[in-house]
């Protein structure tokens, strides 16, 4: 499904070069639910951005759904993002001036679906996330958890092959966080592959598999108690 080998990513500014990922390799299989953990600044978001084709990388190879997506032009990358990937952000990233219905509609319009198809998809995903009755609300009229549900509906409406989530519960209190996680698990149970970055070891434990990133590399250490491992890794580095 998603296969990266020897991927490296370097951020260059005038003063410093940051090796955000180095010799990074990961293989996510169809239908998996993977948690990505690691200390702050270790490269989790960088990995997710590259996986989601939001950023390019400097070395190595990346196969998504069997396709080498490392050398696509911007237009094709937009297309792949639109059709194969669903993104969920820590800050929800809804468009504040559009109501719930129109927010979910955004990627479907870029996809070029006709109005009837879009309506069908919007209504069914909003029902799935439990917000079928809120389609005329604007984001500011919703709670954080509800906003994240709308964002999940938006990510799912185009039937993506893989869902990428960067700290999807980071801005939510623990009750709402648990509900969102249950929703994500539910989506995974319906067959969508999921890669989720999280700081929360408890959430990470609920994923089928965890990968732990330290200093831009997948750590060999079993990440079952991530904070401790991270501290040890730092100390020994």
């Amino acid at each position: 499904m998603l296969k990266m080998q020897h991927v490296s990513k370097i951020y260059r500014t005038d003063l410093v070069e940051t090796h955000a990922l180095r010799d990074f390799g990961v293989h996510v299989r169809e239908g998996e639910f993977i948690a990505v953990t690691g200390p702050s600044g270790s490269g989790k978001t960088t990995f997710l951005n590259i996986a989601g084709l939001l950023e390019t990388f400097d070395g190595g190879s990346y196969l998504l759904d069997g396709e080498d997506v490392g050398r696509l032009n911007d237009r094709r990358r937009s297309r792949v993002r639109n059709e194969k990937i669903g993104f969920i952000f820590q800050g929800f990233n809804l468009i504040p001036d559009l109501n719930v219905f129109d927010n979910v509609d955004v990627p479907l319009r870029y996809r070029g679906f006709d109005a009837a198809e879009r309506r069908r998809r919007i209504e069914s995903t909003l029902d799935l996330v439990g917000l079928g009755s809120r389609s005329k609300h604007i984001p500011a009229q919703l709670s954080g958890g509800q906003q994240q549900r709308v964002a999940i509906a938006r990510a799912l409406a185009g039937s993506p092959r893989i869902l990428l989530a960067d700290e999807p519960t980071g801005n939510l209190d623990s009750l709402m966080a648990r509900q969102i996680l249950e929703l994500i698990e539910d989506i995974n149970a319906r067959g969508t592959t999921i890669v989720m970055v999280t700081h929360d070891p408890e959430l990470a434990r609920r994923a089928a598999r965890s990968i732990h990133i330290i200093d831009g590399k997948v750590s060999d250490l079993e990440p079952f108690d991530p904070p401790a491992v991270a501290i040890e890794a730092r100390a020994s580095a």
Binding site: L54, R75, S78, R81, F89, G91, N99, D105, R109, Y110
Partner: protein, 400 residues
């Protein structure tokens, strides 16, 4: 197209858009009316005069000593002028057409001021006037040499006249002007021997500018105004040496007042030209300000929507989708503006018509103005739109 969601986002965030739409409306209304006035003034300046304006100039001779023979003076000067290389024809006139100076009187078909009166702007000329002015006769004949009389200023009384077709039609609506007799006030009868197709008289702001009467007479006085026509393109060459040549012929008088007809006409039209220039400046200024306003609003909205644009890119918008979003948004704002602007333009014009007796707006200006503002808006928003399209999709995850 994504018009509906763009419109609803716009309506949720309307302050800036409404201000720009109002600015566009005012711009359309003012620009259309200003362009209308500019066009009208330029048309006025560019009207056909019937004369070879580009190759004509005047020069004066003034016999300040008192002792002089008018007939010899004029005969000698005209001979010199007519034989100068590059000169095509020369005549003596009381005034120069288009110069703002001249005389007019009322003409009648009946003696003793009976019947309808038509104003004629009259000039005293000799037999070379037709060729000198470059006017053409549409009927009849020119003056003959022997028809030109010498008279006192107070006692001008001639037998035959040339009149313009416009004058002839006013006085003889049935078209039988040629050969007819007309009267100036209580004077002796004048026979119309020829019709000038078209010619402008002295005052460019006079409604009856093209009603001209030419009288075949040399008016004997110490001040003589020569009007000279050169071969095409040789005006400045002749005009540069004419004063010296005339002076050399006889130094006991003053030769001065060399001015081209173009210069005289330009002075007469100065007000119209200044109005046209001023209003053109207003048009460009307004357009520039509006374009800046559009760029400003779009730049601001790109800046304040950076995260939203990054998110759109992240969930599948291509760069072109982003550019198109801003183009469509601008088009909606401009369209709102021009709808209001069209109404304002017509209202403004009606007010101008009523207050300043301006001609009514030609309605073609409205669609042209709308088209121009649509294009202006799209061009103005293109820069900010392209900046928006270059926002990295990673902004979506990198900003909270």
């Amino acid at each position: 197209m994504e018009i509906r969601p763009i419109l609803s986002a716009l309506l949720r965030n309307r302050t800036g858009a409404v201000l720009i739409a109002l600015q566009i409306a005012v711009t359309l209304a003012v620009v259309i009316n200003a362009a209308h006035i500019v066009k009208q003034r330029l048309d006025l300046i560019g009207r056909p005069t019937g004369m070879d304006v580009a190759n004509i100039f005047e020069v004066h001779s003034f016999d300040f000593a008192g002792e002089f023979n008018y007939r010899e003076r004029v005969r000698g000067d005209l001979e010199l002028l007519r034989n100068m290389p590059g000169v095509r024809a020369a005549t003596v006139m009381n005034q120069v057409p288009l110069s703002g100076g001249g005389s007019s009187s009322g003409y009648f078909r009946e003696p003793e001021r009976e019947g309808p009166e038509v104003a004629g702007n009259h000039f005293t000329v000799d037999e070379q006037a037709v060729d000198t002015l470059g006017v053409s006769l549409s009927a009849g004949r020119n003056f003959r040499l022997e028809e030109i009389d010498y008279m006192d200023l107070d006692n001008v009384d001639v037998d035959s006249v040339l009149v313009t077709a416009a004058f002839a039609e006013r006085l003889f609506p049935d078209g039988d002007a040629l050969g007819s007799t007309i009267y100036s006030g209580g004077g002796d009868p004048l026979t119309i021997i020829g019709i000038i197709e078209h010619m402008h008289g002295s005052w460019v702001d006079w409604e009856e500018l093209d009603q001209v009467v030419l009288l075949p007479v040399y008016v004997e006085q110490d001040f003589v105004r020569y009007v000279v026509r050169t071969e095409p393109g040789r005006r400045d060459e002749v005009l540069g040496i004419v004063e010296q040549k005339l002076s050399e012929l006889d130094r006991e008088r003053a030769v001065r007042g060399v001015r081209s007809m173009e210069e005289l006409a330009a002075e007469s039209y100065r007000g119209d030209r200044m109005m046209a220039v001023l209003l053109t400046a207003v048009i460009f200024l307004l357009i520039a300000i509006t374009a800046l306003g559009i760029v400003g609003l779009a730049s601001f909205s790109v800046k304040s929507r950076t995260k939203q644009i990054g998110t759109r890119r992240a969930i599948g918008a291509s760069r072109f989708d982003i550019v198109r979003y801003f183009l469509v948004e601008n088009w909606l704002i401009t369209t709102g503006g021009v709808i209001l602007g069209s109404v304002l333009a017509v209202a403004f014009n009606l007010w101008l018509v009523r207050t300043f007796e301006l001609p009514k707006l030609d309605f073609i200006y409205i669609p042209l103005g709308i088209l121009a503002l649509w294009i202006l808006g799209q061009l103005a928003v293109l820069g900010p739109a392209r900046r928006a399209a270059s926002i990295a999709p990673a902004i979506a995850t990198r900003t909270v």
